[in-house]
């Protein structure tokens, strides 16, 4: 199909043609950016936590005032929970990855004299944590029982400046190891916390996401050999087979209430719910953007249908003449399809530039990353397809114009 006659026809409808091009360009630019934003949200929602997510349940208890012997109570609880059928592992910790309740973080330095911390990492405290969470050690070993320190003892030691009373060892994620000692073996190395408290690295786990504040580095987490009690605000984390979760949760709550009826169950839930709540906003925004893209494509398609119908009705004479001079229906159909393709292509080319500009604006104001080149063809293909689909109806109507129209006066 020859493009030149099309261009010269469009030249006579300059204004409407440009409006269509502008509309396609805007749509293309918005679709590119919106798809990119959706991709960002999905990527965030898919972040790996490094724990056996579908096998964990969490129970948090509330205490009234000071319980006299929280430590003994905790040991009794842990022992009782292990007896429940289906329970594989039990741990006690404060926060899990990706939770909305809170988190605790610490600054890590390579050198005690350093003014600024090298990185900010999440702290995971609690006994028997790694086996329960199902977090995989890739180097080194887990904590020995003798290395554990009680939380209150550790805090007291810290306040007296007694480094002996603090835990001496730590397990870190591979991400921290790579950041602190790139390309080297982290085992046996020393890192410093706070005002220069030394810890020796005895193990490295493949992955363990932090509680929140993901912008500080999702994979920056540390595990400390510190025992907690449920009075410290820690919650029981139980690992069991995915299908047993409901039953185990129920049995565990009943058991804990039976051991001390004066406690209040603050939270009893499967880990899946924790993660779902954490990413609820991202999911909602992705959904809304999908809705907006759909509305946008529908509107653009309607616009193309409208203008194409207008052109077809304006050119009935011309079509009739062409048909009378021997053009087939296919020729007429292809004429309008090619015309739309030409307009869409110009629009898409402009749209790419615009997409880039919008991305620059978003980067400036909303801390978004640069739009990767892969998203440009997405917008282009979407608009070529929409254009061809939308023009099909008017083009078919044009093809149906009989040659006899040429001989009729108005």
């Amino acid at each position: 199909m020859d493009v030149l006659p099309i261009l010269s026809t469009l030249h006579r409808h300059k204004l409407t043609a440009w409006l269509l091009i502008l509309e396609i360009a805007l749509t293309c630019a918005i679709v590119c950016n919106a798809v990119f934003l959706i991709g960002q949200q999905l990527q965030r929602m898919d972040l790996p936590s490094g724990i056996a997510e579908h096998e964990l349940v969490q129970i948090q208890l509330g205490y009234v005032g000071n319980t006299p012997d929280a430590k003994a109570q905790t040991q009794t609880d842990l022992a009782a929970l292990r007896q429940i059928p289906g329970v594989k592992q039990v741990a006690l910790t404060r926060y899990l990855p990706f939770n909305l309740d809170g988190g605790s973080n610490t600054g890590i330095k390579l050198n005690p004299q350093q003014q600024q911390k090298t990185l900010d990492a999440a702290q995971y405290l609690g006994q028997n944590l790694l086996p329960t969470l199902g977090t995989r050690l890739v180097e080194g070993r887990n904590f020995r029982l003798s290395e554990y320190v009680d939380l209150d003892a550790a805090v007291a030691a810290l306040n007296r400046g007694n480094l002996k009373g603090l835990p001496q060892v730590m397990i870190i994620t591979r991400a921290i190891a790579e950041r602190l000692w790139p390309g080297k073996n982290a085992l046996g190395k020393t890192l410093y916390v706070g005002n220069g408290i030394p810890f020796r690295v005895i193990g490295v786990v493949a992955q363990l996401a932090r509680h929140k504040r993901l912008q500080q580095g999702v994979e920056y987490s540390t595990v400390w050999p510190i025992r907690m009690t449920s009075a410290d605000g820690a919650s029981y984390v139980i690992r069991c087979a995915p299908k047993d979760r409901t039953a185990v949760l129920k049995a565990a709550v009943a058991k804990l209430k039976q051991l001390d009826p004066n406690r209040v169950v603050l939270k009893a839930r499967a880990y899946d719910a924790v993660r779902r709540a954490f990413f609820a906003n991202d999911r909602a925004m992705a959904g809304i953007l999908v809705g907006v893209i759909a509305a946008l494509l529908i509107v653009t398609a309607l616009g193309i249908v409208g203008l194409a119908s207008f052109w077809v009705s304006q050119r009935r004479r011309m079509i009739g003449v062409r048909r009378a001079l021997g053009a087939t229906r296919g020729d007429i159909l292809r004429y309008f399809q090619t015309e739309n393709f030409v307009l869409a292509t110009i629009g898409i080319a402009l749209g790419m530039v615009l997409a880039y500009a919008i991305n620059l604006f978003l980067m400036l104001h909303y801390e978004l990353p640069r739009l990767p080149a892969i998203y440009f063809p997405v917008g282009a293909i979407a608009l070529w397809l929409i254009g061809q689909l939308a023009v099909l109806g008017p083009a078919l109507r044009a093809a149906a114009v009989p040659p006899v129209v040429a001989t009729r006066s108005v």
Binding site: I30, G62, V64, N66, K117, D120, L158, Q216, G306, S313
Partner: protein, 440 residues
């Protein structure tokens, strides 16, 4: 004349029904998409206390020094909370018109009826001024007095929901409530009051969380060692053991709010805060120059990121969508009006002025806009219903269609269509009558 134009408009719209339907659909979709996302945005960023938001201020003090800040923090990186020490000092010096320190609590309520389960209820420990500062509505009774604050009285204010559960909704003022094993005298029952975003303690609480059900005096809560239900930020030094250790630590966990009635008060409070920080520096507590902030409620909400950036971005995207719809409407209206050059030529030749032509087409554009608006309303209603499915529940309940959203939607549709119609109308008025009459 208006009636005649209206009739002409309907006749012309009926004649090219396809094009009309397309235009109405396009405007409807555009308006609906923008208004639905706007409804969410409005729900999240709405001013929860419009009559007072410019008088409520939230001070911040740099208690950890510049070394604690290193990338990643929101805004200027000052802690959103205060230490107990600073909050108490500011309360004692009492420099604002009204002020309150506060922290979230989660005491367990023991019902007198043993058949009822005991339950943990969210609440806040606040000063007496809190209720007056926020114009908190009471169903029965009132807040406690500052004297109660002074001698750490065991008094409490409960919300209507808790009152319903414990006392069947009866006037419970003067009755006792057991919180964490101690008995408190109820001085007031709130009417339904659940501001969202929950603005008074953004530092510690979820802006779209459940309503506070119980309030007790701050000093009493500290006396009873009620732990905070919020976060505790501890910088470099961890607190000593026990509740006393927390109180004397440099951990931040107390939110602080002041009421300042005019610009002079704001300025003097600002310099007072700076002076306070300088005193602390001179006393050797801080080894860095004073760094304080005082933000009013709307800036504070901004600072605390009440509206997530994703929601702002989707608002931008959907207003871009509206722009596309307007470009679309320009194109379609142009097609529609220019198709009728003949009619315009005849009317002009018969003596119609340009203004008359312009008003005729403006009426037509307005009718299209109104129809688009009505369709847009319907689609907005669908859109909001759909969003209730995808949004987190706390935000979904806030996102609703109310009269103001209704007329805003209609107004937006008509204004957008008229704006889009400006150029096509201009073109229509410039049709030269002689040319049109000659051709046929």
């Amino acid at each position: 004349m208006f009636g005649y134009y209206l009739e002409l408009a309907f006749r012309s719209l009926r004649r090219s029904l396809g094009l009309t339907v397309l235009m109405v659909l396009a405007i409807g979709f555009g308006v609906a998409a923008s208004m639905s996302t706007y409804a969410v945005f409005r729900a999240m960023s709405g001013d929860p206390i419009p009559w007072k938001s410019s008088k409520l201020f939230f001070p911040q003090i740099d208690v950890w020094g510049p070394a604690s800040r290193q990338g990643g923090q929101r805004g200027d990186g000052l802690p959103a909370d205060m230490t107990y020490i600073d909050a108490m000092a500011l309360m004692r010096q009492h420099r604002a018109a009204q002020q309150t320190a506060m922290y979230p609590i989660l005491p367990t309520v023991y019902p007198d009826d043993p058949a009822e389960k005991s339950r943990a209820v969210p609440g806040h420990a606040v000063y007496a001024a809190f209720f007056a500062m926020l114009d908190v509505p009471f169903r029965y009774g009132s807040g406690w007095s500052s004297a109660d604050d002074g001698h750490r009285a065991r008094v409490a204010v409960i919300d209507s929901q808790l009152n319903q559960r414990l006392f069947g909704g009866a006037n419970s003022v003067g009755k006792a409530i057991r919180l964490d094993g101690h008995s408190y005298r109820i001085t007031g029952v709130l009417a339904d009051w659940h501001p969202q975003p929950q603005f008074y303690d953004l530092a510690n609480s979820n802006a779209f969380g459940p309503a506070d059900q119980v309030f007790v005096p701050f000093a009493t809560a500290v006396d009873q060692q009620l732990p905070t239900n919020g976060g505790m930020g501890c910088g470099q030094a961890l607190p000593g053991p026990g509740f006393a250790g927390v109180l004397s630590s440099s951990c931040v966990w107390v939110a602080y709010m002041v009421e300042l009635d005019d610009a002079a008060q704001v300025a003097s409070y600002r310099s007072y805060l700076n002076g306070y920080a300088r005193e602390q520096q001179q006393a050797g507590r801080f080894s860095w120059p004073p760094n304080t902030q005082l933000r009013d409620l709307s800036r504070w909400m901004d600072q605390m990121g009440v509206v997530p950036p994703e929601s702002k971005v989707s608002l931008v995207v959907s207003f871009c969508l509206l722009l596309v719809c307007m470009v679309n409407a320009v194109g379609l209206l142009l097609a529609k009006f220019l198709r009728r050059s003949n009619e315009i030529g005849v009317r002009r030749a018969l003596g119609a002025s340009r203004a008359a032509i312009a008003s005729q087409f403006a009426v037509e554009a307005g009718v299209v806009g109104l129809a688009g608006g009505v369709l847009g309303l319907l689609l907005t209603w669908l859109g909001v219903a759909w969003m209730h499915g995808v949004l987190p529940r706390q935000i979904a309940v806030l996102t609703r269609i109310d009269p103001s959203l209704l007329w805003q939607t209609l107004l937006l549709a008509i204004a957008a269509t008229l704006l889009a119609g400006l150029y096509p109308i201009l073109r229509a008025t410039h049709v030269r009558p002689a040319m049109q009459l000659k051709i046929d």
